[in-house]
């Protein structure tokens, strides 16, 4: 029991950022707020309507009690019962108007706020679409997703209420201040001592909660990132009996988030308490000072009583304002995390020249060098594929074959050298225009949740059902699809769950075939497919490759022996290139690889 009582005070202190950094960030807050405001201000019409309703509801809130007070005097004190019905009718009108305006202020505000969130969320997503692949290599997906949902949620909760609260508080504050000044300027001056006290109190609190909210959201992001990763690897975790270890790490993430959230909530929780205390203290001061003034005849007792009541009304909107300010800080913490991502530099998509159509499909690399994190991965690579030719990359894993394809797709930019399509450097073309001329079957054959038909159609969105099915047949996927109970309408889970890896590869090939590109790129496109099926696909591909350039990576060397050029890579360098026959005659690396593949059987026995 005693321990349980002590627990809340035993949370360790939390490291947020150093003060000078916090100060610099305070300036950023204003920028963030301005940016968020710009998003909201798009919905001016709704905001104006909301504020009108706030004004209406605030005045109705004041008018109601006024009529009640007057009626009591007339009805009960003066016993003038004749005005009962008119008074009640008037009241009814005010009350209905009050309720309607309260509803409408929320109605319009919600519309504006949620539309703003929608725009912010989709802008964020659309911006992500324009970021280079390298950006995603370095981040956990769950962390980015947390920004799209959890941080947005924070902003959303604030936008839903803040404007209304702010409007209401300011109106009430102004109104009450006028009445107070009218009643007694001196007492008003006394009451205003609350303001500096509140200012310093709020400063103490928000200087802490600002960074705390930020820490809370970023720790939540890390926790989400870790969770997403472990969810995707759940089967492996089970197979390796790593559940306990994963749970322990998760608990560390969760605890670290809890610590930030605990302090953020605790200290934010001080605000209403502080305001309450100032409110009560204000009361005491008014009574004390008012008493002295009354004794000296400056004011009447009645004024003190009424004034005390108004002083109460004065602090309530102040309290609301203080609370809103804090909520706003939490939204800013979220918005800042969203905007940081939106400031990430885009991948260069602007074209400096138009592509000449039709694209013939000559692809060449000239002295291309590429380094990733200071490690040279591609070193002075040169080769050339004439239109309609097939070029193949061979070499041990890690030699840089896939990297060459990534460079062709402009996922990364080479450090030096140039890559040409039809004799023109690809760096001059628009990114999307360039990629639109090529179709890739990548190493991991990702499929989306949705029907098989939708997945194949991803290759060409306007393809007819017949075209989709023809592509599936060409990729030898038709056989297995037709045997599924729902055929082409079979729903796949995220990542294509529900079918085997080999089947996924068949669908990826179908998808690329449907795209009907000038350049076809196959990176280990058939690695998980049995060799009999592969033969079927080969025949289809042979037909399809006529008239278009193809670039192929395959470990099974017999699948590339008919290539016009085979480029053999080792540690990012071209060690030899030529046709199969030429390379065999050179008796170099390629010949050794072929030999080892044939000897393999004998050697292994």
């Amino acid at each position: 029991m005693r321990n349980s009582l002590k627990e809340p005070f035993q949370y360790p202190k939390i490291d947020t950022e150093p003060p000078e950094q916090a100060k610099r960030r305070a300036d950023d807050w204003k920028g963030t707020l301005r940016r968020l405001g710009a998003y909201l201000l798009v919905h001016k019409k709704k905001l104006v309507l909301t504020l009108l309703m706030v004004a209406l509801s605030s005045s109705m809130a004041l008018l109601g009690p006024l009529i009640v007070g007057l009626s009591i005097d007339e009805l009960l004190v003066n016993e003038n019962t004749g005005i009962l019905l008119p008074a009640l009718a008037g009241l009814a009108a005010v009350y209905v108007l009050h309720s309607v305006s309260v509803y409408l202020q929320h109605y319009w505000m919600l519309g504006a706020a949620q539309k703003t969130i929608y725009t912010l969320r989709t802008d964020f997503f659309d911006h992500l679409q324009l970021l280079p692949v390298g950006f995603f290599d370095k981040r956990r997906h769950g962390e980015l997703m947390s920004r799209m949902t959890n941080d947005m949620d924070n902003i959303s909760n604030t936008l839903n209420t803040s404007v209304i609260q702010l409007g209401q508080s300011l109106l009430t504050l102004g109104g009450v201040l006028v009445v107070m000044l009218y009643l007694s300027p001196m007492l008003t001056a006394v009451t205003l001592f609350i303001v500096p006290a509140m200012y310093f109190g709020m400063k103490w609190i928000t200087r802490r909660t600002g960074p705390l909210f930020k820490a809370q959201q970023s720790r939540l992001g890390d926790m989400t990132g870790y969770t997403q990763e472990t969810l995707n690897g759940q089967q492996l975790i089970q197979a390796y009996s790593q559940e306990e270890r994963v749970m322990a790490s998760f608990n560390d993430y969760s605890r670290s988030y809890r610590l930030a959230a605990f302090w953020a909530q605790t200290i934010s929780g001080f605000i209403p308490k502080l305001m309450n205390m100032l409110n009560n203290a204000g009361f005491a001061v008014i009574a004390g000072v008012g008493g002295i003034l009354a004794l000296q005849g400056y004011i009447t007792v009645g004024v003190i009583v009424i004034f005390a009541e108004y002083a109460r009304q004065f602090t309530r909107p102040l309290n609301d304002l203080a609370n809103q300010f804090n909520v706003l800080l939490s939204a800013i913490a979220g918005a800042e995390r969203v905007f940081t991502m939106m400031d990430e530099p885009k991948e260069e998509t602007r074209a400096s020249k138009r592509m000449k159509r039709p694209v013939r499909g000559a692809v060449s690399f000239e002295h291309v060098t590429f380094a990733y994190e200071q490690e040279t991965i591609i070193d002075d690579v040169t080769f050339r594929a004439e239109p309609g030719e097939m070029i193949a990359f061979a070499g041990p894993t890690g030699a840089g074959k896939t990297t060459l394809i990534s460079l062709l797709a402009r996922f990364y930019e080479p450090a030096s050298g140039s890559i040409l399509l039809d004799g023109e450097p690809i760096s001059g073309y628009g990114m999307e225009e360039l990629r639109g001329e090529m179709a890739f079957v990548l190493q991991d054959s990702y499929l989306f949740a949705g029907s098989i038909r939708e997945n194949i159609r991803y290759g060409r969105l306007d393809a007819s059902d017949e075209e989709v099915e023809a592509a599936a047949e060409a990729a030898d996927a038709g056989r297995f699809i037709r045997r599924l109970p729902d055929g082409y309408e079979t729903k796949l889970g995220s990542g294509g769950s529900g079918i085997s890896q080999g089947q996924k590869q068949l669908l990826s090939i179908a998808r690329a075939l449907l795209a009907d590109p000038a350049v076809l790129v196959l990176d280990e496109a058939t690695s998980s497919i049995d060799t009999i099926t592969e033969l079927h696909i080969q025949r289809a591909l042979k037909r399809l490759m006529k008239g278009r350039t193809s670039i192929v990576i395959a470990h099974r060397l017999n699948t590339i022996r008919r290539a016009d050029t085979i480029v053999v890579l080792e540690e990012g360098r071209v060690v030899e290139q030529g046709s199969h026959d030429e390379l065999i005659q050179q008796s170099g690396s390629y010949q050794a690889m072929i030999q080892s593949q044939q000897e393999g059987k004998a050697e292994m026995a």
Binding site: V100, F283, G291, G493, R556, M593, M604
Partner: protein
């Protein structure tokens, strides 16, 4: 909701302390008017400054006491809510780790992710708010009704009719809102889902230039979330105007009956005024309800979503790392049949074969013939619908999961590495692995040379937040992760596809020397031909099993496979 309470119970002392402190604050609030009355009546009216200062002083003291109570309440409330949140999160996460493959797939990853993070946050925030304001509203309402009853019971009867009426309407709204909020959370799932797919498939999206298509998908998910949020919130926002209307209506009723009462002499003016005052106070307290209703119905929806995960059946959780990798490693499949949920045909039907300890079996078959399913039966990742998998004479179902899995090294088809260093990933295989053992495992997996060249060698960060390794490199690290366990049974699911024949041979030699049972799925005949046994699957059935020679004689399908690999190359 009971579920939340069962987690909150652990912090009942903190909860009680928080509630007690709110009561204290409330008490001060109620005493305050009495003190003010004293200041006015005994002080100002009597022109006695001493009394004014005396009671004024007490008022300050009480205010400070209430402030202290409020600050301490903040600590207790934050502790109880954030810790309950942590426990709940931990429990859901634990449950997810132990979900059997079938139930795991029923929840999408994105939905589980929302439940572990967003839904728990909704609940923890609700608890925090509740501990700070919830008691206030009902107490103020109840107190006001009772006080009004003492002042003028006839007029108070009005409140006895309107308050229950209002409560019923509010309950109906909460119920409806909870349903609507759960649809909001589903829309959050969908946003997460679309985003996750897009992030995972970033290369695919870029190469197919599907930016606009993806954007459309996401816009529709975000639009749905917006739509549902707005509709739900607009429904919930009815409460406040409704409360105002009913309570203001009560004031009108009080005026109506009050006028009659006063004229008839049954009531005094003061009494009517007092009752009206109480009604006004109640309206203020009830307006907090509007907020409570929103967070409550949202929490209710989230609690239901979390409960549905927690109630899911789970496999037993293996405890510790019971190392038992010295079993002989005999594997026997007896009439194993397995059908994936919602699939009409079994993926494996009556599969029987046996693997003797220390031998190597190659599993061949077309895409979708059931190879991966078959392999996953051995570490009990999937359980057969009929028949059994027997390991060293004991059916897998009777094996302690942890002991069985400790004896198995499983290399899945897709090489999954986790964020962290290469060493971290290897330690998955064995937690106490020394650096030498790691180096040895990497050497055995034929990847040590490449690892050495990385900037930080063994301690290079890989995975979603690290360096990019090639597909073949990842594959070999995941083989090293299996080898480091020194397993009795090694399962390779097409894990050598990226290896050239020479490297693969060296790998198989190492495995041979380790004398463990090997089941490997492969497409390459070179590695199948030398196996002690080849199992050829077709449409979920064993088409043929035996050595290369035997199959070459007995199986037409096998001969066809052979031809396909010996004949001309691709696109020939």
């Amino acid at each position: 909701m009971e579920m939340i309470w069962s987690y909150l119970k652990k912090y009942k002392i903190a909860v009680a302390a928080a509630l007690l402190l709110t009561l204290l604050e409330l008490g001060v609030e109620l005493v305050q008017p009495l003190l003010i009355a004293r200041i006015i009546d005994d002080g100002i009216l009597q022109e006695d400054l001493g009394t004014v200062l005396f009671w004024g002083g007490w008022l300050l003291v009480f205010s400070l006491a209430a402030f202290a109570a409020g600050i301490i309440n903040s600590f207790y409330a934050a502790h109880a809510s954030m810790s309950t949140g942590h426990d709940l999160r931990s429990a859901v996460f634990r449950k997810v780790q132990t979900l059997a493959a079938g139930s795991f797939q029923r929840f999408a990853v994105s939905s589980l992710l929302t439940r572990v993070t967003n839904d728990v946050i909704q609940i923890q925030n609700t608890i925090f708010m509740s501990l700070r304001i919830m008691l206030r509203a009902p107490l103020l309402v109840a107190g006001s009704v009772i006080m009004a009853f003492f002042v003028q019971w006839q007029l108070a009867l009005i409140l006895f009719t309107t308050v229950p009426l209002l409560s019923i309407v509010l309950i109906i709204i909460v119920r409806r809102a909870a349903g609507m909020f759960s649809r909001v959370q589903q829309a959050v799932d969908q946003v997460n889902h679309t985003a996750e797919e897009n992030l995972t498939a970033v290369r695919l999206v870029k190469t197919f230039v599907r930016r606009k298509h993806e954007s459309k998908k996401f816009h529709s998910a975000a639009g749905q979330l917006q739509d549902r949020t707005v509709r739900t919130m607009r429904m919930v926002e009815i409460t406040m105007p409704l409360i105002l209307l009913v309570m203001n209506g009560s004031i009108m009723a009080v005026l109506w009956f009050g006028t009659a009462g006063v004229t008839g002499g049954a009531m005094s003016v003061g009494e009517v005024v007092a009752v009206i005052n109480y009604v006004t106070r109640m309206t203020g307290a009830l307006s907090i309800f509007s907020m409570i209703i929103i967070i409550f119905s949202r929490a209710k929806a989230s609690a239901a979503r979390i409960s549905s995960v927690l109630e899911e059946e789970s496999t037993e959780l293996p405890r510790g790392s019971g190392r038992q990798n010295d079993i002989p490693g005999e594997v026997v499949f007896r009439d194993v049949t397995f059908t994936y949920p919602e699939m009409p045909e079994p993926v494996l039907s009556r599969v029987s074969f046996s693997v003797s300890p220390g031998s190597r079996t190659a599993v061949l078959g077309a895409a979708g013939s059931g190879k991966t399913t078959l392999i996953q039966m051995i570490p009990k990742l999937l359980l057969p619908d009929e028949g059994e998998v027997v390991i060293d004479g004991v059916p897998a179902s009777e094996w302690k999961t942890e002991s069985l899995r400790a004896a198995i090294g499983y290399v899945p088809q897709e090489a999954v590495l986790f964020s962290g260093t290469i060493a971290d990933n290897l330690r998955w295989g064995r937690e106490d692995a020394s650096e030498e053992e790691m180096v040895q495992a990497l050497k055995d997996a034929q990847i040590y040379g490449a690892v050495q060249e990385l900037p930080d060698g063994l301690y290079t960060r890989v995975g979603q937040r690290g360096i990019n390794l090639s597909g073949g490199q990842k594959q070999r690290i995941s083989i090293a992760r299996a080898l480091i366990r020194d397993p009795s049974i090694l399962l390779l699911d097409d894990s050598t596809s990226a290896l050239d024949t020479h490297t693969e041979k060296k790998l198989l030699d190492v495995i041979e020397s380790r004398q463990c049972t090997v089941l490997m799925i492969t497409q390459k005949l070179a590695s199948a031909e030398t196996a002690d046994q080849i199992v050829l699957l077709e449409d979920g059935m064993v088409e043929a099993a035996g050595t290369d020679d035997e199959l070459a004689r007995s199986s037409r399908l096998y001969r066809a496979v052979k031809e396909s690999q010996e004949g001309g190359g691709m696109y020939a």
